[in-house]
């Protein structure tokens, strides 16, 4: 017996793979079926996993040490990590830390004028905290407030380590 999604040319294995991806927070990925599995009836179909309003805003790989820097490796405290984020009511940062040392982080935000320039210097502190976990562990941080224009995400670690990051915004 075929399940409904299999009638559309999606195998159970593909669906389970997609569900697994969604479960680890990889929202917004569009998984198109392999070309050989497509039929004339359903060639326009897409299987969309996760929230349809989610968009990837940043991916980065960063060496973090005891000097505060943002996820783009900028140590300029006035430099935003994310810009034009007003439409996103939720912003979710997930990643993987290579070392076992804690990572201290701060999420800062500010508003911009119609030209995209900040209303002033400095930042509003949205949240701060510590990411703990053994080496090669994953983490997830959801920003406490959404719909700011700009965000700066600063990180530091007492022991140098590599951190892989991804930030998604949900409208």
């Amino acid at each position: 017996m075929k399940l409904p999604f299999e009638n559309r040319g999606i195998s159970r294995r593909e669906l389970l793979k997609g569900m697994g991806a969604a479960a680890v927070g990889m929202m917004g990925w569009l998984i198109a079926r392999p070309a050989e599995a497509m039929t004339a009836e359903s060639e326009a179909e897409l299987l969309q996993i996760g929230s349809p309003g989610a968009e990837t805003l940043l991916t980065s790989m960063l060496t973090v040490n005891n000097q505060e820097r943002d996820l783009l490796n900028s140590t300029n405290s006035q430099s935003p990590t994310l810009d034009r984020c007003l439409p996103y009511g939720r912003v979710i940062w997930s990643g993987r830390k290579a070392g076992s040392a804690d990572i201290q982080y701060r999420v800062l935000a500010r508003s911009t004028d119609p030209s995209g320039n900040p209303l002033g210097d400095g930042w509003y502190l949205v949240m701060q905290g510590t990411i703990s976990g053994p080496a090669q562990s994953w983490f997830r941080v959801e920003f406490a407030q959404g719909n700011w224009d700009q965000y700066r995400v600063e990180v530091a670690s007492a022991v140098s380590q590599t951190v892989f990051n991804r930030i998604v915004g949900v409208r």
Partner: protein, 131 residues
């Protein structure tokens, strides 16, 4: 050809719109975000039936506290009001969530300050309940 789309997950929500940008010199005299003087005079926002809540963000140049007062009504008769104090040092940022008890067509956002200072701010409106 049959065209279908399998959508998993909730639809987008929390639509937001920018309503006011403001650079305002504030002091002890009540004035709204558009700079007009008075407490219950002309509305700052009209045709707001579609908005459920608001967020006012900005930056204050001085140390004096601010007081944001919001009066609600139809633009001629103001029937409800509430106030939110804002503290912070010179150059600090603020964020105020404003959720009126019910939806009104018009609002007046009034600011007073214990000392003269400049306030640069932005008011956004939410079309759905978000907080």
């Amino acid at each position: 050809m049959k065209r279908t789309r399998l959508q998993i997950g909730a639809p987008p929500k929390g639509r937001v719109e920018v309503l006011v940008y403001s650079i305002l010199r504030v002091d002890a005299t009540p004035r709204d975000l558009l700079g007009t003087l008075g407490v219950d005079t002309s509305p700052t926002l009209v045709h707001c039936e579609g908005f459920r809540s608001f967020v006012w963000t900005g930056r204050k140049s001085g140390n004096a506290d601010l007081l944001l007062s919001v009066v609600c009504g139809n633009g001629q008769n103001w029937v409800e009001s509430f106030s939110v104090p804002i503290s912070g040092s010179a150059g600090s940022w603020f964020r105020v969530e404003v959720k009126p008890p019910k939806i009104y067509p018009a609002y007046r956002f009034i600011v007073v300050s214990g000392g003269a200072q400049e306030v640069r701010s932005k008011l956004i409106g939410y079309k759905q309940e978000v907080f």
